[in-house]
């Protein structure tokens, strides 16, 4: 667990911080520069039959996958054991749930990409930016799901695989305390490394693609009154607004 090379240092010690800066800085920049372009860029107006199947399949699958990643990466194995969850139980439930969610996500994105390619109007509004994003997104899903299938197969066949909760998870947590445990990640299996790189790539793209819409999930909608009232901007933020404060007229 001790030895790692300069490549490992670069990939697992430096790159995560570069990505972090890109995500945070990118989001701030995008918000300041491009609030208007911050949207889902929905194509439902053009085609809705396939979208109504593919999009929920993909998004709900993805939500489960995200929860799975959060649990797997952020909760140390000592904690789940302390809760009385055996490693076997944890692995079986994680693998099965992960497989179902992963397949939903993959099926969803496959349907969506196929729709995007074959529906004329949808394809014609697809930018290069979108295409790059789809490649990275699909690669991240495929590597993750492929890895899960492979490990599930090995486990079913009675073999042993490296436990990511002893390698990837400690490394991921160590990033946030600014003391990256490069050695832990360097010791993990190659598929994990590949998937982690894809994940980093996807994160780096987040602020600069249509994926930003994930950051405007409208949770506040649940807690606000139905009808929103707003006064005209009190500041002359935009051109053409009177600089004087409004008089009340009496």
């Amino acid at each position: 667990m001790s030895g790692y090379g300069p490549v490992d240092l670069l990939l697992w010690g430096v790159l995560p911080y570069v990505v972090l800066v890109l995500v945070v800085g990118g989001l701030i920049w995008r918000y300041r520069y491009d609030r208007f372009g911050w949207t889902t860029r929905s194509s439902e107006l053009y085609e809705s039959r396939l979208l109504r199947i593919g999009s929920p399949l993909f998004h709900f699958g993805l939500l489960v996958v995200i929860v799975g990643h959060v649990v797997g990466l952020l909760i140390p194995d000592t904690w789940t054991r302390a809760l009385g969850v055996s490693d076997t139980l944890y692995h079986v439930s994680a693998l099965s749930l992960g497989l179902i969610a992963g397949f939903c996500t993959l099926a969803g994105i496959a349907l969506l990409v196929w729709r995007r390619r074959t529906t004329g109007p949808v394809f014609s509004v697809t930018t290069r930016n979108d295409k790059l994003m789809y490649v990275v997104l699909v690669l991240a899903i495929v590597t993750g799901l492929g890895m899960t299938v492979y490990f599930a197969g090995v486990e079913l066949a009675g073999g042993r695989t490296g436990d990511y909760r002893e390698t990837v998870s400690p490394w991921f947590r160590s990033i946030w305390i600014l003391r990256p445990d490069v050695a832990a990640m360097a010791a993990s299996d190659a598929p994990y490394k590949l998937h982690a790189l894809m994940g980093l790539g996807l994160f780096a793209l987040l602020p600069f693609t249509r994926l930003v819409h994930a950051f405007s999930a409208p949770v506040g909608y649940l807690f606000r009154p139905y009808v929103v009232y707003r006064t005209r901007d009190p500041q002359p933020a935009a051109a053409g607004q009177a600089r004087r404060p409004a008089r009340r007229g009496w």
Binding site: S42, L45, S48, P121, Y221, V227, Y229, R230, R232, G249
Partner: protein, 588 residues
């Protein structure tokens, strides 16, 4: 029926204290005058939606009724799920579902109209006309889809069924005709049609606002205009479903919702909306209505749909009532606005004369663009059968017997209750008979007025508003700023209109943008507007904007260059005899 107009006298008015007073700039359209010329639609489009992404968006459209409307069958809320429904416990919830259901369906809106329900926008391959190689055939500009650029067959558009209203093939697809069932016979003798111009209703209880997950849609406190904050819209598309009038359009290029703005940059400086300004029939009226915001929810959730019209009238406040004036002052409504509300033609037509009705009150959104239902189908039928179409008794009898148009109108304006429609038509008929006697030099006949619960004086006032009203009487719009006639042109209206954050003055705009044509900060709608306004307000005489006419800035004053092509002979003197002079003398 006779006393319906006076049933809600101030004496029996709700004795509860007046709640929060709010002001709404509202509109009334007199359908008898609409000739279906679509000038409003075209000028609106020129001003607001002549961009790619909103080719199919008509903030203002004119529908032939009976007909399917735009988008097709939008009034069928069983299908499109717009507006509100009243739950058994008396509370309102959007028909498309409450908050949790909305978020659960956010990844694919289950009931959003597709572009085919509007129409596939197209252009023509004009290039062929110029560049086609010499040949035997005459080159033709073929239609090309504005979505894909491919050749397409044009099969439908915003007004494909224009003027075909009474025809059996199309009328039978009208959701209202379907609901009325076999009561409507579409035989040739019984056909009728009229035009229905529609803009956003700027509702008091807007369901589009309620369904916006991002909180980007809002109702402006000052003037009640419902707007989309383009910087906060995230393109979830729920408002498209939420609006029962389908007056929110999804810009497929920018991925954001857009809607009728009530021409707020114009209204803010006291000018009428473009659709009103350019209306050939002069059938639109603009004015302020004061209302009690605390009672809107209660009024919108009355149990019986047929009570919604009266309930909405009950929310309006009388600007001449001293208690209302005091409450308005308490709630920060400028006196100028209250004074304006007292002169409001909208309030007069809706509440004083009771001849304007809301469009589809049963959607429970409390719409604020009201309509004077057309008497013409009745008069036409009467005249066709050889009767005197303006005789009081003939007209009253005809209104009673011509059930088809009345019931159809009632489905549009009063949730199916023919009573109020009947009263309106009788009042309009009475006005014709009463004024005809005056025109013929006969005595005034008070009995005609009292038959419909009015006085002769009221009828003459109504006649003045409906038939004669000049520009200043039709459009009573107070300015949003503390600007009056007195200090017009003197005050500093704007600072530098270009140095807003990211604006041209700050080095923004122009050049390549990384996320496609729609990214980056949008042009501020008012940049050009206010340059033009300042120029106009500070100029000595009547002036134009020079060279190009932006309808958003045009107030009908003078004749700017570029509005009309230059005349032959190169004579540029605009004010020569023979030309129609500036319209409506006496305006300031």
């Amino acid at each position: 029926m006779k006393d319906a107009g006076t049933s809600r006298s101030t004496g029996e008015r709700d004795t509860r204290p007046i709640g929060r007073v709010m002001a709404q700039v509202a509109m009334v359209m007199n359908l008898d005058k609409c000739i279906g010329c679509h000038t409003c639609s075209v000028t609106c489009k020129q001003a607001w939606t002549n961009r790619s992404g909103v080719e199919y968006a008509w903030f203002n459209n004119v529908e032939t009724r009976p007909g399917q409307g735009y988008p097709r069958t939008y009034q069928d809320q069983e299908r499109w799920k717009g507006g509100w429904v009243r739950r058994p416990d008396g509370t309102l919830v959007p028909r498309s579902g409450g908050r949790l259901k909305r978020l659960a369906t956010i990844f694919a809106n289950p009931v959003m109209p597709s572009i085919q329900d509007y129409y596939e926008p197209w252009t023509y391959d004009y290039d062929t006309l110029i560049n086609a190689p010499a040949g035997d055939d005459f080159p033709v500009a073929e239609p090309r889809s504005a979505l894909t650029g491919r050749p397409m067959k044009v099969e439908w558009s915003a007004n494909w069924d224009d003027d075909l209203g009474g025809g059996p093939e199309l009328a039978s697809q009208d959701p209202i005709v379907r609901r009325l069932g076999d009561k409507v016979r579409l035989s040739f003798e019984d056909t009728f049609m009229f035009y229905l111009p529609r803009i956003c209703e700027h509702c008091l209880n807007p369901s589009c606002v309620a369904t916006c997950p991002s909180g980007a849609l809002y109702k402006r406190v000052e003037d009640g205009i419902v707007l989309v904050d383009q910087d906060r819209c995230r393109g979830w598309r729920m408002c498209v479903t939420g609006c029962p009038y389908k007056k929110i359009y999804f810009n497929h290029k920018t991925g954001k919702a857009e809607k009728c703005t009530f021409c707020y940059p114009r209204v803010e400086v006291g000018m009428p909306t473009i659709c009103s300004e350019t209306c050939v029939g002069r059938l639109r009226y603009l004015g302020v209505v004061l209302y009690d915001a605390d009672r809107v929810g209660e009024a919108a959730s009355v149990e019986d749909e047929k009570d919604l019209y009266e309930a909405q009238l009950g929310v309006f406040l009388d600007p001449d009532d001293p208690a209302v004036r005091a409450a308005a002052r308490r709630d920060g409504i400028p006196d100028r606005w209250v004074d304006s509300a007292a002169r409001s033609p909208v309030y007069a037509l809706a509440e004083r004369f009771r001849v304007a009705l809301p469009l589809h009150p049963e959607y429970r959104t409390m719409p604020m663009v009201w309509y004077i239902p057309p008497l013409s189908p009745v008069v036409d039928t009467l005249t066709r059968t050889g009767h005197d179409g303006e005789d009081k008794d003939n007209l009253f009898g005809a209104i009673d017997t011509l059930r088809i148009p009345v019931e159809y109108l009632a489905e549009l304006f009063t949730a199916g209750d023919t009573g109020p429609v009947d009263l309106v038509l009788r009042r309009l008929a009475a006005m014709r008979s009463y004024m005809r006697r005056i025109n013929l030099g006969q005595e005034r006949d008070e009995s005609i007025a009292s038959d419909v619960g009015m006085t002769g004086g009221e009828i003459e006032d109504m006649y003045r508003l409906l038939a004669l009203a000049k520009y200043d009487e039709r459009y009573v719009v107070p300015t949003a700023y503390g600007v009056d006639e007195a200090d017009r042109g003197v005050i500093e209206e704007v600072g530098c209109s270009l140095d807003f954050d990211g604006g041209p003055g700050m080095g923004g705009m122009g050049g390549e943008v990384p996320f496609g044509e729609a990214s980056g900060r949008p042009d501020e709608a008012s940049v050009e507007t206010f340059h033009a306004l300042r120029e106009r307000q500070t100029a000595e005489g009547r002036s134009g904007t020079g060279g190009r006419v932006n309808l958003l800035n045009w107030d009908g004053n003078g004749r700017p260059d570029g509005l009309f092509p230059p005349r032959e002979g190169g004579d540029t003197d605009d004010e020569r005899g023979g030309d129609p002079g500036p319209r409506e003398e006496g305006r300031t």
